[in-house]
Amino acid sequence: MHKNEESKVVACELNREALIEIRNVNKWYNDFQVLKDINLSVYTGERVVICGPSGSGKSTLIRCINRLEKHQQGDIIFDGIELTDEVKNIDKIRSEIGMCFQQFNLFPHLTVMENLILAPISVRDLSNAKAREIGAHYLEKVKIQDQADKYPSELSGGQQQRVAIARALCMQPRVLLFDEPTSALDPEMIAEVLDIMEKLATEGMTMVCVTHEMGFARKVADRVIFMDAGQIVEENDPINFFDNPKNKRTQKFLKQIFEH
């Protein structure tokens, strides 16, 4: 697809340094190995989609990127900084990485606007007024301008997830991580969230997205990665990934997904 090739060329031209570098990463939960020898680079401006059956380690992998989970072996390097136990200012690093969760995780005791401005005021030291300005801007972007003073419990799932995306955007991160953002939504609300994510993608936001939404992957991704049992099994651009899957496991997975 023309758009994908174009953005790949742009990414390579502008920035040879990977924003996120994952090298030989292994992780265990006690005796169970959840990540096996993962190697992955994400460049600024790229949209990477990770798919796979449940238990494949895809959520664990992206949670390692902002160190919500710790890897035991291998290197994870964000913007040139290696993530280890000794890393100073993990909070500062995390503020450059935005994340959206399957369960939205909005702060229930705060209004929508308060949710958005909490981190910019505390972490970026912005004034209340400036933070609200930014908040209003991103609320408009996700199309929920008139809900600023509502509480999360008063919103639908789709609206809550859009607020969550706005909240992540208010920190103006270098990359957005999505952990199955639409999996907990009713079908009719999935589209409104995917629309926003597509819009962000066309505006050049670097994204790493774990999702089952293959239509979205086809349209938006520069690269699609298939993970199974803790390993990266296949990696390709969307056209080749969906039309010519090389690995048997990928083929089986795609068959199951599309037969639904």
Binding site: N66, I93, L106, S122, V123, M171
Partner: protein, 226 residues
């Protein structure tokens, strides 16, 4: 059998002083106990092994022995090690640290009840630990800690009656005093029961206001069998 009201009325001063002392001890020990509970709880969940271990020792010791034995230890045994405290001081200290152990566990239970996703989102935004505990987690704790917390506070008010055993002139001590003078156990202890009941009821009414303010009322329609 006639109820000798006059025996009680004539000695009302002693009983009123008793009520005031009970209230004094409780009103001071409960807030201090809550503060101790917060500190111990933070130690209990900290990453530091020494802090965690110390807090566990503290909680286990104070929760697993009777309050009466605790006050005997402090009042009667400590003097042998050079520390002689008055009954009232012993009462303040023991009631506070005893409550503190229970409050610590209640707070810990509350923190664990807040969904993990709240911690994930806070960390993902780059919020610092102290900041997000205060602004994200603690505000969500009230609904979990107010009901058991008021229970412990109420227990502390009633446990204060044991301080009568170490010469503190609170309400139970006053009861024994009046009974000793008038030989009217029925009237005396019935009155004491009523007075404790009044103290507790007023306390619960106040905490109910607190519950409503923090949205922690325990009124759920789906729990009633109809």
């Amino acid at each position: 059998m006639t109820f000798d009201y006059m025996a009680i009325w004539d000695n009302r001063d002693i009983l009123i002083d008793g009520v005031l002392t009970t209230l004094l001890v409780s009103t001071i020990a409960i807030p201090i106990g809550i503060c101790i509970g917060v500190v111990i709880c933070m130690m209990r969940i900290s990453g530091n092994r020494m802090l965690r271990w110390s807090s566990i020792v503290y909680i286990e010791f104070l929760r697993n022995i009777p309050f009466l034995i605790l006050i005997f230890l402090v009042f009667y045994a400590l003097p042998f090690y050079g520390l002689r405290l008055s009954g009232l001081t012993t009462g303040f200290i023991c009631l506070s640290i005893y409550g503190g152990a229970y409050f610590a566990e209640i707070f810990r239970g509350g923190i664990q009840s807040v969904s993990k996703g709240q911690f994930d989102a806070s960390k993902a935004l780059g919020l610092k630990y102290g900041f997000y505990m205060r602004r994200v987690i603690f505000p969500q704790l009230y609904q979990y800690i107010i009901p058991p917390g008021t229970n412990i506070a109420l227990t502390m008010i009633k446990e204060s009656s044991l301080l009568s055993m170490i010469t503190v002139a609170e309400l139970t001590y006053a009861a024994h005093d009046v009974n000793g003078r008038t030989f009217t156990p029925v009237e005396t202890f019935a009155t004491i029961a009523l007075l404790y009941w009044l103290i507790s009821t007023i306390f619960l009414k106040l905490t109910h206001i607190l519950q409503i303010k923090f949205g922690a009322e325990d009124t759920r329609d789906d729990l009633t069998i109809r």
